[in-house]
Subunit: 365 residues, 2 copies
């Protein structure tokens, strides 16, 4: 079996620390013979800017193209607040998404039973919650042109961003959602603002048309994005798969992740199209949380979202769904045993740091 | 004292029913001599389309221009799903906002103590919640051009919406937020996506610059819109005034309104600039809830958001802040006495319909 080629991009803030625990697990799996890996590492975000003067080097992008999976920690921090817009840390992440055409961003929001009481929502509303937000990731207002600030004759400025969607972009993300729903509970809710946006209107039409092209076994509903925001807070368990555009997906998935009480616990996968020749797809895995500069370097960050991102990589890129399940169960087991980093600490639990948490996960193997 | 000229636009669905209770209260205040009003009424939304073939007539818009305050019920419903985009019910509301230049949308999210248990959030997180979302309402992606769907040579379609903000639009809404904060708890949080959008970058810069022009007594924070969505769910009481753009405001205010457990209870005010000559500003008041077609015509809709919108009109347009307070206290009093429409019913309460609820509010005067 050829070794899997994995690129690690720890990034900024707590990124390197949480990535350290992923390295440890990968090393363990490799040594055990459970997963043959070849690991490379590079810079992204502010740390790349500090070295290369831009948020990711062309060399690192080339490595990402060749990798079976890219694992990314986090980017950004106040240190780079003054950096020009095109070199800000986020630009490295956005370039990776765009260059690798990672159009499908999968963001599970699951509520670990051991953490249900940490949710801001009443326990009965979130206990057992397991929904999947499928966010379009390479289109919309993130990348549309023009995107500029211009000077007006009157001395004022005018800023423009452009939301663009073409039929094929909506169709392919809808298919990802329908296919995911098939192996889940068979329901998709599509969210847009068709009452205000032409892109919402097209989104609605194309999702509806795609549904009729062989996906009618899946139940499809449409909801306005603002109403969906409300419903997420009111009764999140009504949803299974939610499919939406890049910007709505950004906000709604953050709201959803917070419902679980497991902030700092949630992973994400960003997938490209399947290569018809090899059956492989480009993929990047990253925690939903940010770089948390306030606690960076202290050894206290929670590595579980990063480790859960590795589990998604095992499932979607490395052909090891069983190992993924084992890892997910190990995470749940550690939580049940009362081991907690500071962010999810509750009275009576055993408070640990980043590396002890990583070790605790490994000890469940 | 000249009578106040009030235009009622009941609209669609439950709009006419909830507006009926506002008429009753206005009649009562007028008869009592507490408020001299001259009332006119017209169509908006689907009901205007059915009569005029468009979602608001030029005549109704002209009346709105002349009114001291416009009160609007709700627009939309499945009956008009097939109507062309430019004639959909929402177009009537959007035209009013744009033609009257109602750039400042004030959306309070308050948690009535009597309803705190109805929130999806734990009681301690929302009890006493009182925040104000100030949403920019005449700019951004709602109105920017191009806004179109075009046919591509390959048979596919391409949809475009354009987010545009100019300096003066951001400056004037920032001022509204700072001035509101001064009569509240003195804090403003501005939300955008400056890490992805040029309009977010300009937003951030202009809000910061405006703050320095005489508003430094107000505490200003900036938060990314996705992070703010999270924080709203995690700990909403950290916020006082939130200022944000049209689209973020749409979603975030819906999320915020749901936190309160008082959905169907919340009013909004949409204000234009002050006329320097008269000191008056154009204004439209409407509930945050929609037209609820499923319960329309049954006499069960909750009129309290519409009545609370009248209270905002008394405060911001009709020069009667004391009457506004009386009305707000009447609403809270009715809730405390256990009178409830179906949407907020709990065991042991007295279940009433729309007109009984209106009567109950009046009985507290
Ligand atoms: C870091 C930022 C550019 C990014 C986004 O807006 O997509 C983040 O919020 C996310 O959700 O992955
Ligand atoms: C009805 C619709 C056009 C409107 C909007 O999107 O602004 C509504 O959702 C609102 O928030 O007032």
């Amino acid at each position: 079996m050829a070794a899997h080629n994995i690129l690690l991009l720890p990034g900024d803030g707590i990124g390197p620390e949480v990535m350290g625990e992923v390295k440890r697990i990968l090393g363990f799996l490799n040594d055990k013979g459970a997963l043959a890996v070849e690991i490379d590492e590079d810079l992204v975000g502010g740390s790349a800017y500090d070295v290369h003067g831009k948020a990711i080097s062309d060399e690192a992008v080339a490595k990402a193209h060749k990798a079976d999976a890219v694992l990314l920690g986090a980017v950004g921090g106040p240190k780079w607040d003054g950096v020009a817009y095109e070199h800000r840390p986020e630009a490295g992440l956005l370039r990776l998404r765009k260059d690798l055409e990672l159009f499908a961003n999968l963001r599970p929001a699951i509520c670990y039973p051991a953490l249900a009481d940490a949710s801001a929502l009443k326990r009965e509303l979130v206990d057992g919650l397991d929904l999947m937000i499928v966010r379009e990731l390479t289109g919309g207002v993130y990348f549309g042109e023009p995107k500029e600030i211009t000077d007006l004759p009157n001395g004022q400025k005018r800023a423009v961003d452009t939301q663009v969607y073409e039929t094929y972009e909506i169709e392919r993300i809808a298919k990802v959602a329908f296919e995911l729903a098939r192996v889940r509970s068979g329901r998709v809710t599509s969210a847009e603002k068709r009452n205000v946006m032409k892109s919402g209107l097209l989104w609605n039409q194309v999702v509806t048309a795609t549904h009729k092209q062989g996906y009618e076994d899946v139940k499809l509903d449409h909801m306005l994005a603002d109403a969906l925001g409300m419903q997420l807070v009111r009764a999140p368990k009504q949803f299974d798969v939610i499919v939406t555009d890049n910007l709505f997906g950004d906000i709604l998935s953050d709201v959803a992740s917070m419902l679980t009480g497991s902030l700092g616990m949630l992973p994400s996968a960003s997938l490209g199209a399947e290569d018809p020749a090899t059956g492989k797809r480009k993929a990047l895995y990253e925690p939903v949380h940010g770089s948390a500069p306030d606690i960076a370097g202290k050894g206290v960050a929670n590595p579980l979202a990063m480790i859960a991102s590795l589990a998604m990589a095992l499932k979607y890129s490395l052909g090891k769904p069983d190992l993924a399940d084992t890892l997910d169960r190990a995470i749940a087991g550690v939580l049940e045993s009362g081991v907690r980093t500071g962010d999810i600490y509750v009275e009576g639990a055993t408070r640990v740091g980043t590396s002890e948490m990583g070790a605790a996960v490994l000890s469940k193997f």
